[in-house]
Symmetry: C3
């Protein structure tokens, strides 16, 4: 059994950005030499989410409209009384599901035909990290 | 340490269906002979979710009404401009939580009194798969 | 490779309560002597959630207001026809994300600057459990 850890870094140009990180996660898996197991992909900041869905630009706009409709960016939020303006971003990341744990088979992500891993930044323009932690076997059984 | 992988297959008769897959997951655990560890249950299609909640038919209707109210099946969705009609299903699966990782103790799911694992199909009537990946020990410590 | 399991117990005084359980999870990790791996933190009851976000009291009020707005505690819910009054709590826990799997590095939670693990009780005043299951290595590589 082996474990492997890496940290992806992001500093988006826009406050809200959706980035397909599937190739980054597969690169970490390859580096780990782990052939079979689980990979946790967890944003280390609490105004971002990692989720799995379609790489289709219209859907990404639908997600943004859904989030804006359910929890508007501007609102009478108590968290913003601390001087912050990102209360909405803390809530969006919960609705999108926060993090994913994905399967590794034969040394790479074991994905369905449309599954892609996304980093969803809801309060960007500054440095953020995503932790990738793998637990598994270096040799297939 | 051992890993074990299996794929459950579903082709629901209705577009929306909720299926209790707890016995299926326990069957895979038994087949794996893994006594202690984690089991990831991940839908390989992005218009379905796996979640844990009560096996109570009224609650399942409440979930459907909640989803319909928060994200109507019919809407002015950009994803549907690609020719699809399932934008809502991509969003529903995020709100329901996408996937679960559950504990295995003494060779079976270590569940609370009401925890049941559900496959929630939001765009069915075609073949879909759910990946079950186990990481753990074959012998108890 | 090693596994370790523990159960946290809660009996909140209020029906709705948010408890920072980060120290409890770190205590279980220390007890396990596992230095690197994954820790699953899973509520064993289906009217509670475990989530990761900020330890800021205003934000916790924002979460409660968001949940109340999206799924009111009082509503025409079918689950409540069974004699229950907690249908809303089953739905809130899905919207908050149900459970988390977090990374362990160097014998403790590998957290970003603001990540804290919360137990969110939505139907308390009675005994509930949270399962903590660790899979990893006792010795660092």
């Amino acid at each position: 059994m082996a474990t492997f850890t890496d940290y992806l870094k992001f500093k988006t140009k826009n406050r809200h950005e959706f980035i397909n990180i599937t190739p980054d996660v597969n690169r970490v898996i390859k580096k780990s030499k782990i052939m079979d197991g689980l990979v946790l992909v967890n944003p280390m900041h609490i105004t971002a989410a990692v989720y799995v869905n379609d790489a289709e630009s219209g859907l990404i706009k639908d997600f943004q409209e859904m989030l804006q409709r359910l929890v508007p960016t501007e609102g009478n939020y108590k968290h913003n009384l601390t001087g912050e303006d990102n209360a909405y971003a803390h809530m969006w990341r919960q609705l999108m599901g926060h993090q994913v744990t994905m399967p590794i088979t034969d040394g790479e992500l074991d994905l369905g035909p449309w599954e892609q891993i996304y980093y969803a930044e809801f309060d960007g323009e500054r440095e953020k990290r995503v932790l990738v932690k793998i637990v598994g076997d270096r040799h297939c059984e």
